[in-house]
């Protein structure tokens, strides 16, 4: 593989690698890792245990220098995935040298919603990691990934590995345009509980405590829901809302809150806002990051110039949190 994607200092380079055999995986991964390790660059393989074993065996003694992560646990959800990448780069980067990551997303067993979120994140990485001196190759196993996921790889990576070459992806879509294709939100169900009266922060928090308790949440999970929705309300006000309509409902496994601004938005958060963790100084999307980190999903839409946030929060039956 011609591994000269650009010299160090080139910023973020993001390639897909669609492979259909162990040999094809190694044909990409082995030279990529070898050349990085020889150059003294940090190299991480965040992939399946089977692929980590393949790569270690092929590297032999040089595998001692390889960082690895079982990909399923290297960020369970997109927001955690982004944090995992940023943390790796921060902890391992060597001044003047590029960092290399093999980052294989996991697709098997994911719900349609999760697949859409991961495709969207693959696109968003082009924005979120733009400043990192990082070369990332994302392997997609065409023996197992659905055709729509393979097609999305070509739309979310500017280039792809083809044999010994790196070719541009003709189907690549600008990340903001990619995110703009987010489906509209269905209206809240008819039986949803609605907050009566003005949506002051205190009234919204009381409403959230009530709906969380009615859904069987208590203690830390209830208190966390209150923090999350409070941040969501603050996000609406930060973007020009004069008030909000708030409602809540339950689905199996989920408590949902929907906050819809009254009054037009003075600005709209970028599609990638709130994916990077809070830094040294307060940032405008720290709250959104917290919401993304604590909810199962967060959807942000602008409907008739009004901002709408929909949060899906794990309910009382989530055995990971019992």
């Amino acid at each position: 593989m011609a591994t000269d994607s650009g010299t160090s200092g080139a910023g973020f380079v993001h390639h897909a690698s669609l492979y259909d055999s162990d040999e094809a995986f190694l044909a990409m991964a082995l030279p990529f890792a070898e050349e990085g390790l020889e150059a003294g660059e940090p190299v991480l393989a965040a992939t399946t245990p089977a692929n980590i074993e393949l790569l270690r065996d092929a590297l032999g003694a040089r595998a001692h220098g390889l960082d690895t992560a079982e990909t399923a646990y290297f960020g369970r959800r997109p927001v955690e995935r982004v944090s995992s990448f940023l943390r790796y780069v921060n902890r391992r980067e060597v001044p003047g040298r590029r960092t290399r990551i093999i980052a294989e997303p996991l697709w098997a067993g994911r719900s349609a919603r999760q697949i859409a979120e991961w495709k969207r994140m693959e696109s968003g990485l082009n924005v979120l990691l733009a400043d990192a001196d990082l070369w990332m190759i994302c392997p997609y196993d065409t023996r197992t990934v659905p055709e729509d996921v393979a097609a999305a790889a070509r739309a979310t990576h500017p280039g792809h590995v083809a044999g010994a070459e790196i070719l541009p992806c003709a189907a690549y879509v600008d990340p903001d345009a990619y995110a703009a294709a987010d489906a509209p939100l269905p209206p809240p169900p008819p039986g949803a509980d609605r907050l009566d009266g003005p949506a002051t922060p205190a009234a919204v928090r009381a409403f959230v405590r009530g709906s969380a308790a009615a859904a069987g949440l208590a203690g830390t999970r209830l208190a966390m829901a209150e923090i999350v929705v409070n941040e969501a309300l603050a996000c609406l006000f930060d973007h020009g809302a004069t008030g909000a309509r708030v409602c809540a409902w339950e689905q199996p496994g989920i408590v949902a809150w929907d906050l819809s601004a009254t009054g037009p938005a003075t600005s709209v958060p970028a599609a990638w806002a709130g994916f990077a963790p809070p830094g040294e100084r307060a940032g405008p999307f720290d709250g959104l990051w917290l919401i993304r980190s604590l909810c199962e999903s967060v959807e942000i839409r602008t409907v008739d110039a009004r901002l709408r946030l929909r949060l899906r929060y794990s309910g009382k039956n989530d055995a990971e949190r019992i």
Binding site: M224, I227, N230, D286
Partner: protein, 112 residues
């Protein structure tokens, strides 16, 4: 003693032995300026500071950040201890990575 802050939602009292503040009630976006002012009132105190959060009803992310920034601003060697910290706030602190804040000590919690 007269509280440093008294609003409808928030009350902050200066405490002695140990030196510090007892923060009672609600800190949301409206409360940040009051919390900031109260922290300023103890910034000149030498040595360790104890912030008693056991009567806190609500603290948002911005309020938590003010506490972290206060701990970081203290002279090397002096500590800021958060006592009565609710478990969910402890979880938020470690989620953000603020548990590694220099000068910060996380004291015992209370149920919520």
């Amino acid at each position: 003693m007269e509280p440093l802050v008294r609003t409808a939602e928030l009350c902050v009292v200066r405490t002695r032995r140990p030196d510090g503040l007892r923060i009672e009630g609600v800190v949301d976006a409206q409360g940040h300026q009051h919390l900031r002012a109260a922290l300023k009132a103890v910034e000149q105190v030498d040595g360790d500071i104890q912030l008693d959060l056991s009567r806190l009803e609500f603290l948002d992310l911005g309020g938590l950040r003010l506490l972290m920034a206060f701990a970081r601003s203290r002279a090397a060697g002096s500590q800021v201890e958060l006592v009565g910290l609710a478990p969910h706030l402890r979880e938020v602190i470690s989620l953000v990575g603020w548990d590694e804040t220099p000068g910060l000590r996380l004291g015992g919690g209370h149920g919520n």
